[in-house]
């Protein structure tokens, strides 16, 4: 049985890290933590590919194929041959409780 969060597209090059801490601040699953002056992926398996770290990384040290982990949208795209939509229905509810 595979873990749904083990397989992701997160890649990180510590050589490029300038220690701005942005990735550790924006990640909702604490994937990155600071190890001295450099960010370190401490929970890479928890990455949900939201893309926040990549977008806020000044030096492009992080890459991830960001997208929404929503089966309904992906099955719809596969069946209709259309471009994968971002979830317009179910997913909205996922962040109701947040700001």
């Amino acid at each position: 049985m595979f873990n749904i969060s083990v397989f992701n597209t997160l890649q990180y090059d510590p050589e490029l890290c300038i220690g701005c801490e942005m990735c550790s601040l924006v990640c909702p699953h604490a994937v990155f933590a600071m190890n001295g002056r450099v960010a370190q992926p401490v929970r890479p398996e928890a990455c949900m590919e939201c893309g926040a770290c990549q977008l806020n990384c000044l030096t492009d040290a992080i890459t991830v194929e960001s997208g929404v982990g929503c089966a309904a949208a992906m099955i719809y795209a596969a069946l209709t041959g259309k471009k994968e939509p971002t979830c317009d229905t179910g997913i909205e509810s996922s962040c109701f409780s947040s700001e």
Binding site: M1, F2, N3, I4, S5, V6, F7, N8, T9, M22, L25, V26, C27, P28, H29, A30, A46, C47, M48, E49, C50, G51, A52, L55, N56, L58, E65, S66, G67, V68, G69, C70, A71, A72, A73, M74, I75, A78, T86, C87, T89, G90, I91, E92, S93, S94, C95, F96, S97, S98, E99
Partner: protein, 331 residues
């Protein structure tokens, strides 16, 4: 429709707002949770004054979804400040950030449209952390001069956050507790209601009450029981969790069919019992798989892998079950 008349006018246009959530607000939240007028729960984009803010007061940014805006303003107890509402087409912060509508471009545009430079003397914006998938903080700084500060995930943590402007690790993590999952059930229930009624009526006339009830139970297991039981179902992925739950709820129907009709021939009874075990679990499993879109932690790669692994199994099981029902009714 949202009127946005201050768009072309560079004079600061600030609307007042208050902290208390009224009965009308609560009714609006209730309707949103039940999927009524899904994209109509909007706040006019622009700048709002909470309390009596001065040029030094903090600026909080949010989406023009009533639940987002109301969560923010009600959390700011005793804190005066400005709320800048971005136009996210009535969608909450996190989902809008994923789409890019809660994004760098809209933020920079809204800063200009509200003439924020003339309203406050400082150059700091406090954004919800979940806006980060759409906003590049360094880009905003470069294009507008405003520094983006990512606050906590939940608006309720803002008063604590504002004491030090440092979020604790707990404030930075999304949760998916029982309460968070329960809130989602109503919207999914509305989505399956019509297909469920159709399936129930068709099966009632085709196979009788038990089959009709089986379909209803399998569907309700997928949209009501599954979100509740999610962490306690063994296995890790959603589809196999769904198969387990679907198997459990199908079992009584299979047993009643097998044992409840002693007059029939044995192979007919076994066949009829088997239809429940084949047709119902994939229905529950499919709905369980669809719940991935409502969670706060599933990744696109993970869900894709799950679709390729399990959807063919679901389709074969369901198809075989349906064929068996038809064959048994013919012979």
């Amino acid at each position: 429709m949202i009127s946005d008349t201050n768009e072309n006018c560079m004079q600061p246009h600030i609307q007042p707002t208050t902290r208390p959530i009224t009965l009308a607000n609560r009714w609006d939240h209730f309707l949103a949770r039940w999927g009524v007028n899904r994209s109509g729960h909007r706040v006019e984009p622009g700048l709002y004054a909470l309390g009596n803010p001065t040029a030094d007061s903090p600026v909080f940014v949010t989406a023009n979804y009533t639940l987002s805006f109301d969560a923010l303003r009600s959390a700011l107890a005793g804190v005066g400040g400005y709320i800048m509402v971005l136009d996210t087409q009535g969608i909450n912060v996190w989902c809008a950030a994923g789409k890019g509508t809660f994004g760098t471009d809209e933020l920079v545009h809204r800063i200009e449209a509200t003439a924020l430079h003339d309203v406050v003397s400082h150059r700091v914006l406090i954004l919800p952390q979940l806006g980060a998938p759409g906003v590049a903080a360094h880009e905003v700084k470069k294009r507008s001069g405003f520094k983006v500060e990512y606050g906590p995930v939940r608006a309720a943590d803002l008063p604590e956050y504002l004491k030090t402007h440092m979020a604790t690790p707990e404030m930075r993590r999304v949760r998916f507790a029982l309460r968070d999952r329960l809130i989602l059930i109503s919207v999914d229930l509305v989505h399956v209601l019509l297909p469920m009624l159709i399936a129930a009526v068709v099966l009632f006339f085709f196979s009788g009450f038990l089959a009709s009830a089986g379909a209803v139970v399998a569907i309700l297991a997928g949209v009501v029981l599954f979100p509740i039981l999610l962490p306690w179902l063994p296995t890790r992925d959603f589809s196999s969790k769904g198969f387990i739950l679907g198997g459990l709820v199908a079992l009584p129907f299979a047993l009643v069919t097998l044992l409840g009709n002693p007059g029939a021939t044995w192979w007919r009874q076994v066949g009829a019992a088997l239809t429940y075990l084949l047709a119902l679990p994939p229905v529950t499993a499919y709905l369980a798989l669809n719940f991935t879109g409502s969670t706060t932690f599933t990744s696109r790669s993970g869900v894709r892998r799950e679709i390729f692994t399990y959807v063919p199994v679901m389709a074969w099981m369901f198809g075989t079950g349906i064929v068996l029902i038809i064959v048994l009714s013919l012979i």
